[in-house]
């Protein structure tokens, strides 16, 4: 089959919009820091980690479809590939949180740790040096896997006759194992250790579920937008959208399942050292707590339940936007309550500044991904799974 492929050009409106969003985000970030540095650092950490996760989801999609030799994603696999290009920038952002460690993490305060029997026992793991070493190692692994997968894909486009599939499978298999380990360590380190007394073994899975949803939402948004702008005509059909809709629906339910798995056990067992996490959220954050469930579970469940909804670009765009904001709220709810409790801080004006700074990071993400996408062939013409992926039937 002859394909006419127009490569993506990153220019004009999208570029301007993303630059404007970045400007808005910078202003919001500065305002947040000026009003209260504690809130500023929380905003910065949550936003950085959120978009690191969206970039990381690219690695997950590439490796999991690489090891399975799945073809459903092949026609638009350049989008997750471009998403992984955000990881180096995410690395810089996360390194910058070093200057906020004392604000965010209680375990960095020596006098607190020395007077606390539980935290004293944990210093072997929770100390600043080892923390930063782990951060560097984690990002090194992610960036390396991303680059390797990207190189395979690029070389495959250059010489389609050569066999790269075995190399891709091998890298993907090793990459997936490393991914599973690193995302657990990352979520324990960067989010769970905000409350150093508290622990939940399922926490890494919970972060992973949120990552999966936001990643699929960003891919869906990109695919639909590219189609609207006249790219990938005749390549992306309603069946591809249906696939993405099913993912959004299914993984939102998976997220809710992991949410209840964490909540139910802690609620049922009622052990004080575990319940403190939810007690804090029920007390001052009760509205946000239930808003989180309403946005991230009930909304996609109702809006995407029927088949025509999963095939309608308008509906998918709407739900993807709602879910992306919803999972920002979810991540914010994991970090903020404990930090704010310690510093007696509060959000001003229903989180408008937080939303604006999220928009700024979103603009940065779009800028990086758009630039990366414009440097590649929009469709991986050398991929042997492409033909099957184009003739997708559900």
């Amino acid at each position: 089959m002859e394909l006419e492929i127009k490569n993506y050009e990153f220019s004009g409106g999208v570029k301007k919009t993303s630059l404007t969003l970045i400007a808005v985000g910078i202003v919001a970030m500065i305002a947040s820091f000026v009003i209260n540095p504690t809130v500023g650092w929380v905003d910065f950490l949550v936003n950085s980690f959120y978009f690191v996760l969206v970039g990381l989801s690219g690695i997950f999609f590439l490796t999991v479809t690489g090891v399975m030799q799945a073809s459903w994603i092949t026609p638009y696999k350049r989008i997750p590939e471009a998403m992984t290009k955000f990881l180096p920038i995410g690395f810089v952002l996360m390194l910058a949180t070093y200057f906020g460690l004392h604000t965010i993490y209680e375990w960095t305060h020596t006098e607190v740790v020395m007077n606390d029997a539980i935290l004293r026992e944990k210093t072997g793991y929770l100390n600043e040096t080892f923390y930063m070493i782990r951060m560097v190692a984690i990002f090194a692994i992610w960036i390396l896997i991303g680059r390797k997968m990207l190189n395979f894909s690029k070389e495959q486009d250059a010489n389609p006759e050569k066999d790269y599939q075995h190399g891709i499978m091998k890298t993907s298999a090793i990459g997936l194992i490393l991914f599973g380990l690193t995302i657990s360590v990352a979520s324990f380190d960067w989010v769970m250790s905000v409350e150093p007394h508290w622990f939940s073994t399922i926490f890494g899975v919970y972060i992973f579920a949120g990552m999966f949803v936001t990643g699929i939402c960003f891919v869906t948004l990109s695919v639909i937008k590219l189609r609207e702008w006249g790219y990938m005509q005749g390549i992306i059909t309603e069946d591809h959208l249906h696939d993405l809709g099913k993912w959004m629906f299914g993984i939102s339910v998976f997220w809710a399942y992991i949410w209840i798995s964490q909540y139910l056990l802690i609620w049922y067992a009622n052990i004080p050292e575990e319940t403190e996490y939810y007690v804090l959220r029920h007390h001052h954050w009760n509205g946000v707590f239930f808003l989180n469930l309403a946005i991230n579970f009930f909304t996609p469940f109702v809006l995407l339940l029927s088949r025509p909804a999963k095939r309608s670009p308008g509906r998918l765009k709407l739900v993807a936007c709602i879910l992306m904001v919803g999972h920002f709220i979810d991540l914010y709810l994991m970090v903020a309550p404990m930090v704010f409790e310690h510093h007696n801080a509060e959000i001003v004006g229903f989180g408008i500044l937080q939303f604006l700074s999220w928009l700024g990071f979103f603009g940065l993400f779009v800028l990086v991904v758009g630039k990366a996408l414009s440097k590649m062939n929009l469709v991986p013409t050398g991929d042997p799974n492409l033909e099957e992926g184009l003739h997708l039937h559900q």
Binding site: L264, W267, Y268, N270, R307
Partner: protein
């Protein structure tokens, strides 16, 4: 009741798909098409309406959800209130696993039953087979002879590569 059918045999799924589209364009009602494997796009080409099965599943799922909630709320707070684990009588989080299970149970069983009913299937049913090759390598398009013009049909299917056109009468429930 016995009916007369015109049967066109194809040996390629793409040919039968093209012939179906053409027949629909020319307003020739197709009785049914027998294929050894599911042919992608054939349902749309034949203009078959989507099944009501998903709605049956949804209704049954909602029934299961309400049954589970009613059962638990009634037994826990009306019939015999017992405090378990220091939780209040109506603790919704504790009900979620059972509610989920009953939703799935009702939904799944009703779906299977409704599927069998909608397809008129039951244990021991003997399906009507025009030709054993329809279960192996050939695609048989059946037209109800009373609805179509036999000459037009045979001309159309032959244009699309039918290897055989014949007439047969059969009783199909």
């Amino acid at each position: 009741m016995k009916k007369d059918f015109i049967l066109a045999t194809f040996e390629d799924d793409r040919q039968v798909l093209a012939a179906t589209k053409k027949a629909r364009d020319k307003n020739m009602p197709i009785f049914d098409i027998y294929t050894p494997f599911p042919v992608h796009g054939l349902d749309e080409a034949m203009g078959i309406k989507r099944s009501i099965l998903p709605y049956v599943t949804l209704a049954a799922g909602i029934m299961g959800l309400m049954t589970a909630l009613a059962l638990q709320i009634y037994t826990n707070s009306v019939a015999w209130p017992v405090i378990v684990g220091g939780k209040p009588a109506n603790s919704i989080p504790a009900f979620i696993p059972i509610t989920f299970e009953l939703t799935v149970l009702f939904g799944a069983h009703t779906t299977v039953a409704a599927f069998l009913m909608l397809n008129k299937l039951y244990p021991g049913k003997k399906p009507h087979i025009f030709d054993p090759s329809q279960t192996c390598h050939s695609f048989i398009m059946a037209f109800d002879k009373s609805n179509v013009n036999a000459d037009e049909v045979s001309q159309l299917v032959k244009e699309h590569g039918a290897v055989e056109v014949k007439e047969e009468s059969a009783t199909i429930k």
